[in-house]
Amino acid sequence: MIRRASASLLLVLVSAAGAAACGDRAEERGRQLYALHGCAACHGVDGRGDGPSAKRLDVPPPNLSDVRTYKQGSAAADIAVSIRKGVGAMPAFRDITDDEAGDISAWIVSLQRERRSAGGQP
């Protein structure tokens, strides 16, 4: 009985570690894709909406780490849809694949998490 419980616990721990590692890899890929596709031109290197183009745009890009600024949802799936289909003043980046959009979204969600951890609102 104890052996079975230990095995189950180990399985849960391994699965959790695997999921975390997968998430980390997606975030890292997303960070690289964000830079590769030049998202920082408008959104800034850290996603704060302070890219070099931002100051001359009539509709300022949002701070991606602040969930209050999202118009179509701040979850990873929502962000991926916004990337592929466009939202507000941002055009649809149809040449970014679903997988790439998913990875970029994972990285953006990590920015939200960091902001919360740092005590930012909300």
Partner: protein
């Protein structure tokens, strides 16, 4: 040397300006040895405030497009498309030179271009110049642009959104409309990359 008919040249200009067709266009006679009427060498100023000539990168394939650093839509999309094409090409893509020619030289100084280029991890050469210099390059490539006031301190610049593919000899080989898929661009790039300099 055959000169392209005048009407054909006009049609090319109109097609580039409208940028509405889904298929890539082969520049007529672009494989001929000389086509000074369409494309060709030029000199502008890069983001490091150095003079840059197309001749400087002779021997390497070039992707070139016209844009401006505060472009809210076409330029980021074009760069994303180029990035997609380069990633499909793989390692040989490191030979390709990507040129961003600003059609907003009034605001896009070398320093502004440099700041903008830092946003892309894809190597990119930003080019600007005097208004006359930029106009001459755009004219040589049958590209058009026009300032559009928005009623705010900012303004937009409508511009040709094509991507121009220039081969190792500096000849314009092909241009791609704004909605062309990265796969088509990558295939054309591979063809040019496979050619010896």
């Amino acid at each position: 040397m055959r000169r392209p008919p005048f009407l054909l040249a006009c049609a090319m200009s109109a097609a580039l300006a409208l940028a509405a067709c889904a298929q890539p266009e082969q520049a007529p006679g672009a494989r001929d040895e000389a086509r000074p009427e369409f494309g060709g060498d030029f000199t502008l100023t890069n983001q490091d405030n150095q003079r840059f000539s197309l001749q400087d990168v002779r021997g390497r394939p070039v992707l070139m497009f016209f844009g401006y650093t505060s472009c809210p839509d076409m330029c980021p999309l074009t760069m994303s498309r180029i990035t997609g094409a380069l990633s499909r090409v793989g390692r040989p893509a490191s030979e390709v030179v990507t040129l961003f020619v600003s059609v907003d030289p009034k605001r896009d100084s070398p320093a502004v271009l440099k700041d903008y280029m830092r946003s892309f991890s894809t190597p990119l050469v930003g080019l600007t110049g005097t208004e006359d210099e930029v106009a001459r390059v755009a004219s040589a490539y049958h590209a058009s642009y026009e300032i559009v006031q928005t009623g705010t301190p900012n303004y937009l610049v409508n511009h040709t959104s094509a991507i121009f593919l220039i081969d190792r000899q500096g000849r314009l080989r092909q241009y791609f409309k704004f909605d062309e898929k990265p796969d088509a661009l990558a295939a054309a790039l591979k063809t040019v990359l496979d050619e010896k300099g």
